[in-house]
């Protein structure tokens, strides 16, 4: 990156990717523990390159802080109120003279929500299942990236989920629900007689995540129990008896 006007980033040749001036970062996340912890981590482990100029748990305050502190990067969490997030993002860009790069942080894995989040026109998107080092890499890349390129760091499974169905909505051409890759994986393990805890251990995820996937899937399938879900999955030919039996010995 070249030096331009006062306030822009300058990278030294000798220091490789380091910047002469710290990148000014504003954090907007409503989870106190995470917000405070991330601010502390950036201020300690990445102190040479990042300065946290503000942190807040509300979109309104994020807009005000962006105007006051002129950050280079805004790291902003979004929840399901995406319209509000879109407004906040617009106001941050319009209100700050630094035209900050906006990085969206999300915990969502549901394909439809991810698709909407990706539509927010931020500069980068990163899932909270990534590491802090990966977040920092995105911060650096976002600052460096010119033009309209968008950076995305989502779990591979989430990207595949968002492509399920011919129109990306999780349905096939005849309107039948199609499960996401992870949902199908979990449902097959259910069919093999595994309890949620065992499934969680098998897939190296939490039991709560297994429950959440099943809770998301049941209403989409129009079922209320594991048995019904397995029967319907077999009817729909999402998997076969052979596939169920294939790994019974592994359980």
């Amino acid at each position: 990156m070249k030096s331009t006007n006062d306030g822009s980033m300058v990278k030294t040749q000798s220091m490789g990717r380091r910047w002469q001036r710290q990148v000014k970062v504003l954090l907007a996340d409503d989870h106190t523990m995470f917000r405070e912890g991330l601010a502390g981590m950036l201020a300690s482990s990445y102190a040479d390159e990042v300065e946290v100029v503000g942190k807040t748990d509300t979109g309104e305050e994020a807009v005000a802080l962006a105007r006051e502190k002129n950050p280079d990067v805004v790291i902003m969490q979004v929840d399901k109120t995406l319209r509000k997030a879109r407004d906040t993002l617009k106001q941050i860009r319009e209100g700050s003279s630094s035209s900050p790069k906006v990085i969206i942080l999300t915990m969502f894995e549901e394909p439809l929500i991810l698709r909407e989040i990706l539509d927010l026109t931020a500069n980068a998107y990163i899932h909270k299942s990534a590491s802090v080092a990966e977040l920092f890499a995105i911060v650096r890349a976002a600052v460096d990236t010119q033009g309209e390129h968008v950076l995305v760091a989502l779990p591979q499974g989430a990207l595949e989920l968002s492509e399920e169905g011919e129109d990306g909505s999780g349905e096939d051409a005849s309107g039948r629900v199609l499960p996401g890759k992870r949902e199908l994986e979990i449902l097959l393990l259910v069919a093999r007689g595994m309890r949620n805890r065992k499934i969680a251990s098998h897939l190296d995820i939490s039991e709560a995540t297994v429950k959440r996937h099943l809770a998301n899937l049941y209403p989409k399938m129009g079922v209320t129990s594991r048995g019904e879900a397995v029967r319907k999955a077999l009817e729909n030919e999402w998997f076969t008896f052979r596939e169920i039996e294939a790994a019974i010995e592994e359980v």
Partner: protein, 119 residues
């Protein structure tokens, strides 16, 4: 209250998402450098607990076996705002738990360990 006997509190952090896990672990290491902090993905929670015998477990879902053994903090990942804490025989639920709250649980665990060391 600072315990007179120096004890090392072992903390197992096994929460999702990973970014939270890392942030929390680093904060604990910085605030209580004498503690031992072990990180595990939720799927490896029980195996790691068996190996490391933590005094305090912080997880999205703490298995009953670990709840019986020591202090624990359960931070559900469906919204992440209502946190259940069990320390020193008491349990409570906190809304939007802070890092200070979690460090306070560590201090309680340290006090109790020190008490057992002394007696």
């Amino acid at each position: 209250m600072t315990p007179e006997v120096e004890v090392v509190v072992r903390v197992l952090v096994a929460i999702e998402p990973k970014m939270y896990r890392e942030v929390l672990a680093l904060h604990i290491r910085q605030q209580r450098p004498q503690s031992e902090v072990v990180l595990a993905s939720p799927g490896k929670l029980e195996a790691t607990a068996e190996r490391t015998k933590p005094h305090l477990t912080i997880a999205n879902e703490v298995p009953p076996m670990l709840k019986e053994r020591g202090f624990w903090v359960e931070v559900p990942n469906d919204g992440w705002l209502d946190t259940h804490i069990s320390a020193d025989g008491y349990s409570t639920t906190l809304h939007d738990v802070s890092l200070e709250d979690l460090v306070a649980v560590m201090d309680k665990a340290e006090e109790e360990l020190a008490y057992y060391e002394e007696h």
